[in-house]
Each structure stands twice: as structure tokens, then as C-alpha cells.
Symmetry: D2
Subunit: 270 residues, 4 copies
Amino acid sequence: MSDTRTPTVDDVAAWWATSVSRIEPGIIELRGRPVADLIGRASLVEVTWLMLRGDLPSPWHARLLEAALVAGVDHGPHAPSIAIARMAATCGVGLNNAVASGVNVLGDVHGGAGQQCVEMLTEICDRADEGDPASLDAAAVTVLAEWRERSPYVPGFGHRFHPVDPRREPLLSLVQSAVDDRAVPGRHLLAAFAIERNLKTRGGDQVPINIDGCTAVIYAELGLPAPLARGLFVLSRSIGVLAHAWEETQSGRRNKGPIPPTILPPYVTQ
Amino acid sequence: MSDTRTPTVDDVAAWWATSVSRIEPGIIELRGRPVADLIGRASLVEVTWLMLRGDLPSPWHARLLEAALVAGVDHGPHAPSIAIARMAATCGVGLNNAVASGVNVLGDVHGGAGQQCVEMLTEICDRADEGDPASLDAAAVTVLAEWRERSPYVPGFGHRFHPVDPRREPLLSLVQSAVDDRAVPGRHLLAAFAIERNLKTRGGDQVPINIDGCTAVIYAELGLPAPLARGLFVLSRSIGVLAHAWEETQSGRRNKGPIPPTILPPYVTQ
Amino acid sequence: MSDTRTPTVDDVAAWWATSVSRIEPGIIELRGRPVADLIGRASLVEVTWLMLRGDLPSPWHARLLEAALVAGVDHGPHAPSIAIARMAATCGVGLNNAVASGVNVLGDVHGGAGQQCVEMLTEICDRADEGDPASLDAAAVTVLAEWRERSPYVPGFGHRFHPVDPRREPLLSLVQSAVDDRAVPGRHLLAAFAIERNLKTRGGDQVPINIDGCTAVIYAELGLPAPLARGLFVLSRSIGVLAHAWEETQSGRRNKGPIPPTILPPYVTQ
Amino acid sequence: MSDTRTPTVDDVAAWWATSVSRIEPGIIELRGRPVADLIGRASLVEVTWLMLRGDLPSPWHARLLEAALVAGVDHGPHAPSIAIARMAATCGVGLNNAVASGVNVLGDVHGGAGQQCVEMLTEICDRADEGDPASLDAAAVTVLAEWRERSPYVPGFGHRFHPVDPRREPLLSLVQSAVDDRAVPGRHLLAAFAIERNLKTRGGDQVPINIDGCTAVIYAELGLPAPLARGLFVLSRSIGVLAHAWEETQSGRRNKGPIPPTILPPYVTQ
């Protein structure tokens, strides 16, 4: 507020300056590219990368991002994000509102694990010796120990429902193929394996990498900042949220509650 | 966009001009009143009226508005607005986000009935003969018939759970007292009774005024525009939404879904 | 509530039954397809179609949907959906919350035009004589006249900023190619052209098809229900909303308001 | 999930058990009190306390809570929460959606300071010697130093706009009166003064208690948990958000952006 000169309308325009898009009469550019050059040519995932990074991805980079986005689309009507959107769709609001109420809850517990896992993988890679892959195990053990002091949950590992997450194998084998093709460095994949090797439940059971961990590996390998792991999951899950909200809309139910009206206390609203 | 003169920063300030509040260094005025004159003196309901109408309410007007707001605070954990906020509170978002996801669904079906009922009551009063109360019945029958052509639901009447809404009697007797004291005209109350007299289910049962109808009567008697019936219900229900979200927060549950994990398909997230 | 038999847990499970996805321990199926068969193989747009329609799209159908989604991604920081998300990102909430506050406003005025335009195009096609393309003009004139009685805005036509929307040509020529390849019938495209031919401003100017009209043509040609025009725009715009929210996050601004702090009344919060 | 017995519908009902409200046919109880006993008798603030705490407040407790809620209602159209709701109201969504998009952004930076300040005041009181008021200064200095290591912002102190927040004096003098009447202990008020005495800008200027600090003192004196400082601010600000959204609705603007259309790049949507 030390700025004392008289402000001008240029200051106002500058307040909303952006490098994401340029809009002028008859002109729409996304990251410097005319939208007409993208429509019908670039895939939605390539455009997502372009919007977030400023350039177009290599085929391998696009393929990894696409796989991560496809994998997170839906996990059934009992996920809070989905259940909320289904109930919202019966309350007389638009699909835009139903989707908003649903994705709004993709917070630290429901969707945020990917962001935390990217941070954890990055920390392990930073601490390990660049030249010595084995040092990743030592770093993983240290970081894991520190993490568990803060929380009983290790983000990106274990699933209370799936013994092994069915999305683990296809996602990680795709990353491995990209590593074999030198499309991504692969250190974050090794870091994730290092955690998996060193993580056991009190009962001594394995705690396999889950969907958040797999997508975190992809985002970390692609050099995406941790907060975008959450942001990208929002884009991915929006698709499932919309599909479920739409199915519920067609059911004709009104004011759907969490349990059937036949169960006491009866289902009621207002 | 025909404006061709060079815009100035005054145009920018004017774009955000408001008569609701005035903020300058060391000054906060709400509808022209220094906030210091309101803190500790005006009630929250009086300030709500002030913010929406520009003046302070009479004691009776404040009392009626307060009763309507108190009546809508909560209707149990199975109302979508409440259930959504409870689930949201377990997903690692703030109470602000849990409340937002909850009140966001107070749409045409869940909360919007009050707005529609104010419109219906107003239409009946407009059509009836000012001098002849009996003419309200004729107007009610006509408006009712027109409404039922559009929808099987008559907004503000009947409740799938309560044979008679326990909020009906205290709210309407309060309005009657205000009418007796000449604090409000009372025509919209008569219009609501006229509907109630003329509304039967196919089975011939009575369809009593419900909470939306009672609050609609109050808002209409207070001369509040129909859309504010929805807006004020949002303020009222926010209190219940917050209380339920807070209780759920304290439960320590994570990613609460609509049904217990013990019921197949197991409760799962992501 | 006439159901009198004792409810069971099966009733509860049935309450959340869905045909969108199946989740069991170790199993995730989207519309009957194991997620492992989709990861790394299906594109995000193909999966979007699968989730909404239950099957995978033909290459042409996927291409048209992808083009519509790419075209709506962003329209600059002054679109309310984008501006809201940018401000939200400076208030200490997650990217999930910033995206939610932004897409939540894609209502009847900002984003809903596509839905209304699909309805208008469908109505024209329904009224026109199947065998006689020329009859589309007559139907267009009638529907247009009826529409203008209800509102001064014809959804999907005209843009207060672009003389001709730069997205019009690439989108409609792509639809035309699909028609030439017999991938879509093309009647809704003709209906849109019929409106365009018969729509003039009071000043006699042309009112070209805009982005909402172009995407409405695509959604109608693909046989998607009107409400999904809004739902799909939400998915598309979410990408731009996320990119802008992320850029704003990196700026380090706190509590960004609509105009710069240097303009009186100074930028203030709380 | 170690629960192996067959689940019953009672488990389902229990999943949504709450102590906040009881709803049965013809019965609505809030915290054990029939709603009919509250309508027309309890104030909205008393009911808010009841819903959050389970009992009704003393007159002084209700008065302090009411003052805190009144004080936070509005801070002008440039606060992100307000600006967002005003823009939302022009996009064709309901007032419920406009309010939701607005209060959703009351996060750690915009609205969360009160929660952090309650934590800080509590920490100071916990560290200070119960018997020795002077020890609050020492504790304040320590806690302040620790806090400033983590962040340059001390929550609840200083305002970039108001040299002295006009809400400070009326709020704190009300708390002082309550202390004089032995209605609240007053230690958190002393802790706030201790911070104020020991907090200076680099330039040596005073950094007075702001609205977040004043309401934090009230909430702490009332024994409310820190997260409710945020939750209660949401209730308070919702009133201003609604008033501004309603005013904007009446303007008839469509797709209002942050700056006027006359300023290049022109105001545009979609």
C-alpha cells in the first residue's frame, strides 16, 4: 500500500494479467496457441498439460497423465464425493452445483493423499544419494519413520477395502515402460517401491501402494508440483461425480438421504 | 459496450458500488450505520433485516423473522443438506467447506419450496378482491388448480414424514398474534388457510401447511421478496449444518460414506 | 412410505445401487469394464463417454466430444468462473475448493446456454418434416419467435465480445466432416444454420453461432441429453479453472479482491 | 472392519445417530428441546449456542456471542467472500449457490485467522502461571516468537486497511464488562492485550487487535473450541454474503466479472 502514485486503468488490467490465456475480439489463445489450432487436433489431456505447464507434452508424458486421470475417475457411490453429488442431484440444483458440492470435499483425507505422497517421494529422492539407488531404502526408512510420528496414515499406501488396489499393477507397469524408454527418470518409482518394501502393518502385513501412491509416482515422475496432484484428481473424479449425479437425476428421486425412507427414523427433509 | 469514452478508475470503483456497506480507513458502516452502534446493541436478526432491507425492524417484525429462522435450523441428519455436511466434515476440509457443500444443495426441491410458496400466496392475494376475504378461497382454488397442472407438489403443504408439522402451530399462532396487534396485514396468512381448506390428497386427506408454508407466510407478511425465502432459509439451515458438521468432526471418522462399512459393498473411498 | 414389511440391509445396499461402477475387494469396474482394461488404453474422453453412456464411443464420436471439451476450457480471467477460482485460491483453501467455488457458478446464464440451445435445436428438428430439409427454416423461425417472447437472449447465438467466435469455424467444420463421413446425422447442424440465417439484431446485424451453440450442435448430434451439455461444460471449464487457480496460487497473493488495493475504496478483507 | 457379525438395519440407523436433533413423526427436538418451545421464545443466537453446545446460554454468554456474530457480518464488496457471491448471483444460480461459493472461501487466510488466534491465546494461557497475571506477558513473548518463526502473519492482529479496527473497541469493552460482572474469566482478554503490548512492526508501530483477534477473545472466553471460531464466522459472514448477492441480483447484470466491460481486455465470459 506504499504505492502513492495515482492508479490508472492499466493497473486494473494488470491486476488480472495472466499467462494462461489471451482473449481479444476474435482471438482466443491458450498459452499462446490459437484455440483453433487445438480444436480437433489436441487431446483433452494434452490441453490439460498445456494449460498447467505452458507447453504440449511428449506422447509418453501425455500417456502417463492420461492413465493417472483415467484411474481416478470413480470409486463407487459410497465415496463421499460421489454420494454427496448423487444426493445433491435430487435437491433441485443444476449438475454444475452437484459436481461442485462433490469435488469440494476432495480434501486432505479424501483426495489429498496424492499431494502428500508426492511430497514424501520427493523428500526421499532429495535425501538419497543420486548415484546410489540402494540409498533410497535408507532414505525411505528415515522419511517413513518421521512421517509416522506425525500420523498413523502413510499417504498413498494401503487400502481398507482392496487387499491390493487393482489400479496398482496397470499404472506402475506403465510407468516402468516409460522408464525403460527413458521417457521419465524413474527415481520416484524406485522411492515408492522402497517404501513398499519397508512398510508393514503391526500385524506384519504388506501395505501395497494404492491409487494415490500410483498417481503420485506418475505426477512426481512428470515433475508436477505436489498441489497439482490434488488438482488433477479433482479433474479426474469430476467425471465420475458427473456420471453418478446424472444417473441419480434420471431416477426421479427427490431429496435423497443417506439411507432408505423405510428405515427408522424415516427419511425426512427440511 | 457502446460506451466509447476512455474509462477511468472511477468507473472501476463504480463497478463495485454498493448501498449495503461503506468501508473506509477506520470506518465500517452497515446500511449507513457505524458498526460500533450495532455491536452489543442490535440482535443478529435485526442486523440481518438491516442488511437486507436497509432499516431496522419493529419488535414484531424482528420477532416474526427470528421465529422463521429458528424454525428451519435443523431437520435431522437425513436431510441432504445435513448429511452432505457431515460426510464432508470427515474428508479433511474446513468447516467453511463442509457448510458450503451442505447449503449449496438447498435448491428448488430442498429449501426452494418457501420461495415458490411466497409466489403462490402473493398471486392469490393479488387475484382476490381486497375488500372481500371470502374471495381468497376462490382465488386459492384457481391458483391451486393452475399450480397442479404444472406440478404434483404444492409448495409449502404436506410432509411425507409429519402428519402435522410440529412447527406449524407455534409459527402460525405467532403470525396470528402479530395480525391481532396490527403488526402485519394478515392477508397472506388467510391465503395459506384458504389453500389448506381446499387442498386434499387423492385419498381425501387434509394436506396441512408445512414448515416452508409457515415461513412463506411470515416472509410474505413481512413483505420480503420471494427469492429471499430461499436466502433466509440458507442462513437458518447453516446453523444446523454447522452443528452437525462439528459433531461429525469430533467423531474422528474419516471419509464417512452414506452407509456403514460393515454393509456390502464395503464402505470405500477413492 | 406405504412399504410395511420389515426393511433389511439389502434394502440399504439397494438404495445406493448403481449401473455406473462396481466395486468389490480387488475389483473396480466402470460400466462393466475392469479399470485395468482402461488404464493406458482408453483416452480420458472415451472414459467420459463410457461413464455417461455405458459404452465406448466410435472414433468420430470421441473426436467430436473431445473437440467440444477442448473448446470450452477457458475464456480468460474475467469469466466469473475463472475470476472466482483465482480469488478463492488466495484465501487459504485447497485447489479442490477453488475449483468447486468456480464451477458452481456455471448456471443458466454462465454455462447453461448450451443446455438451452440443445433443447431449442431438438425442438426445431422435431417440428420440421423429416424428409424436407427446407422445413427446418420454417421450424427455426417459429421456435425462434416463441423463444424471443420468453427472453431477449437466444441461447448459443451472438457474443458481446467476439464479432465471430473463433471457435465457431473449427468446431462446425469438424461436425460437417463427421456428417460427410455419415458419423452423425447432421440435422441439428442444419437447424443451427437455419437459426443463424433467420436471426438478426434490431440493427440488422448477423448473430453468429457462438461456443455454446457449436457445442450444443455437437452434443445434439451425439444424442446427448440437454442437461449433459451443462455437465460436460463443467468438466471442460474445470481445466481452465484449475490452471488459473494454480497460477494465482503461485503469485503468493492473499485475499485477492476484484480490483487492485491502490484503488479506493482500498482493497480490504474481513 | 474386524466386525464379523451380520450387520442389521440397526447398524445403519446407528451410523447416522446424532445428539444434535431427534426427528420422529410429529416430533422435532433440538438438543432434547421440542422446537415448539424454541419458536417465538429463543433468539437465533441462543439456538445457535444450543445447537453447538447442547444447552442454552446465560444472558451474558448470548450477548457476547451475538456481538461477535454481528461484528463479522460484512466488510464490503472487495472481500473475496462477498465479491465471489456478487459475481455468482449474476450467473443464473440460486441464492443458495451464491452464498455457498462465497462462504466456501473462508479458509485459513480469509476467515481462518480467528481459529488460529484462539489457539494462540489458549497456548499463552496454558503456559502462563495461573496465579500471576504478569506471567502472561512472558508467555505471550515466547508464543509470539515461536509463531513468527512459522509465519510473518500474527493471526488476529493488524489490518492492512484500518489503522485501528473500528470493531476493536466495542467488542473488547463488552468483554471487559462481562469480566467485571464475572460472566467470563477474562484471562484470554489479558493474553490478547499481552500480545498487543509486545507486538510491533519492523518500523516500531503498534499492531492492534483486529476483528479476528476480538472475536477470538470472545470465543476463547466462552470456552468454544478453536475450529468453531471459523464455523461461527461462516454463519456471521453468510448474512453479508446474502445481502450483497441479493443486491447484485436486483441489478440485473449478467455474468459480472471483476472489472467493468469498458476496460480492455473487455469483460467477456465463456
